[in-house]
């Protein structure tokens, strides 16, 4: 690594002021598990890093609003979420996915805000959070705005965040009673590998049909995205055939990118298999509320 200026502001305002929207070599750093990798490989050589480690308070808090919204401070570590009874209650599918997300040491320091802001399409949580209607709050020296997670990650490692914006909070709206959700992670190499395909689903059953069906995919695509054609199919029924049709629709619509974990064709097929399996698994889950 090469030398750089490291700032460790003690308040959010100071942190925001230290960012420089005109200089891509100024970056915020939280857990650093992803950014330091890029610095070590020297493809990223920062001029200045703004460490968020001294920021506290709401930025690290996990709470549930009066209206049931799960509010997660962006600097909460993935381990904290894994252990949080609030997360386990409000979004059990998130807690489940965290158990096999990377490894304990990474989860101990990686933050949810960093996980989302990095824009890496291979992450486990973005597709899940997409199915849960998640929004993120982005703060800047001039104010703040809420961004739909679907609009946050716009490309491979690319987000719609401006250079002087930080994710400060992640909000997951209350799930309607009876929502069932599941995340299917397909690894192609060792068991502890990154996902070759990640599929998240959520829906609830009502009067024999499915409501609020959401299907999202990651790792196989340029960015985590919802699959609207599959979701549309799911409004048509609720049995195994519907699940199979939705899986086919997902495979038809998804634009997969091949990599060393599988060709685009293989990943498309894995989207089909795992959408179907995830739907069945969600349906069978007792964790739905």
């Amino acid at each position: 690594m090469s030398p750089f200026e490291l700032l460790e502001p003690a308040s959010l305002d100071e942190a925001l002021a230290a960012l420089d929207p005109s200089d891509p070599q100024v970056r915020p750093i939280a857990g650093g598990t992803a950014l330091v990798l890029m610095m070590k490989s020297r493809v990223f050589r920062p001029q200045r890093l703004v460490s968020l480690r001294r920021l506290n308070g709401d930025l690290r808090r996990v709470r549930v609003d009066d209206d049931g919204t799960l509010r997660i401070g962006a600097l909460a570590s993935l381990s904290e979420l894994e252990r949080s009874p609030l997360v386990a209650k409000a979004a059990p599918v998130v807690a489940q996915a965290l158990r096999t997300l990377s490894n304990v040491r990474i989860r101990n320091v990686a933050t949810l805000g960093g996980h989302l802001a990095h824009g890496d399409p291979h992450m486990d949580l973005p597709p899940i959070l997409l199915t849960l209607g998640t929004r993120v709050r982005a703060s800047s020296p001039t104010g703040e705005r809420w961004i739909d997670l679907a609009d946050l990650i716009v490309g491979y490692y690319e987000t719609s965040l401006r250079g002087d914006e930080l994710i400060t909070e992640i909000a997951i709206p209350p799930l309607a009673a009876g929502t069932r959700a599941h995340y299917a992670k397909h690894t192609a190499l060792s068991a502890d590998d990154w996902p070759a395909v990640g599929v998240a689903v959520a829906f609830r059953r009502e009067n024999g049909g499915l409501r609020d069906a959401r299907v999202a995919v990651s790792a196989a695509t340029e960015r985590p995205i919802r699959l609207s054609a599959a979701e549309a199919v799911l409004t048509e029924g609720g049995g195994p055939e519907t699940f199979a049709h939705a899986a086919d629709a997902a495979a038809d619509e998804v634009q997969t990118l091949g990599d060393l974990r599988g060709s685009a064709a293989y990943k498309r097929e894995m989207v089909r298999v795992h959408v179907r399996r995830a739907l069945h698994a969600a349906d069978a889950s007792t964790e739905g509320r």
Partner: protein, 154 residues
């Protein structure tokens, strides 16, 4: 890694060819291309800078035209080094022209890009995604530039 595609341009083949065979004009359509200089006939030096996410990548490249068939095809090789980072870029690019409906011209392009060194190890999908995006931008730029310069219908 390979990228290919087609662009339909509302201009005559001769006009399109005149444009794409003029490196100075073509360079204006390549995202991040600057400082184009002819170093010998058919051989040009240029700088390519691009952002892949928040990473800035800059290459010093040499473009060599290896085949020209007027109004039909141009093939070029592009070799270069990333600035300040061990590695090498090597690409073969080909352009084929064909008549399209309504007096338009279709450009079919294919690029075979190889990266070695640090960037080669970084992960091809990043560059694959990026090169597809760049191709799209290039196509849009090219269409706009030719159509406006040849005064043809948009």
């Amino acid at each position: 890694m390979q990228t290919s595609g087609t662009i339909t341009i509302g201009a005559q083949r001769a006009d399109v060819y005149a444009f794409v065979s003029d490196p100075q004009r073509l360079a204006t359509c390549i995202p991040g291309c600057s400082d184009l200089k002819e170093i010998e006939p058919g051989k040009y030096a240029a700088v390519l800078s691009n952002k892949v996410a928040f990473l800035s990548v800059k290459f010093d490249v040499v473009v060599q035209i290896v085949r020209e068939v007027p109004n039909e095809a141009i093939d070029a090789t592009i070799t270069g080094n990333p600035v300040g980072l061990a590695g090498r870029l090597e690409a073969r690019a080909g352009v084929r022209l064909a008549d399209a409906d309504g007096g338009a011209t279709q450009i079919a392009y294919d690029v075979d890009l190889g990266l070695t060194g640090k960037l080669g190890g970084l992960g091809q999908p990043v560059f694959k995604a990026k090169s597809e995006e760049l191709s799209r931008v290039f196509g849009t730029n090219l269409k706009a530039a030719i159509e406006s310069s040849s005064g043809a219908r948009a």
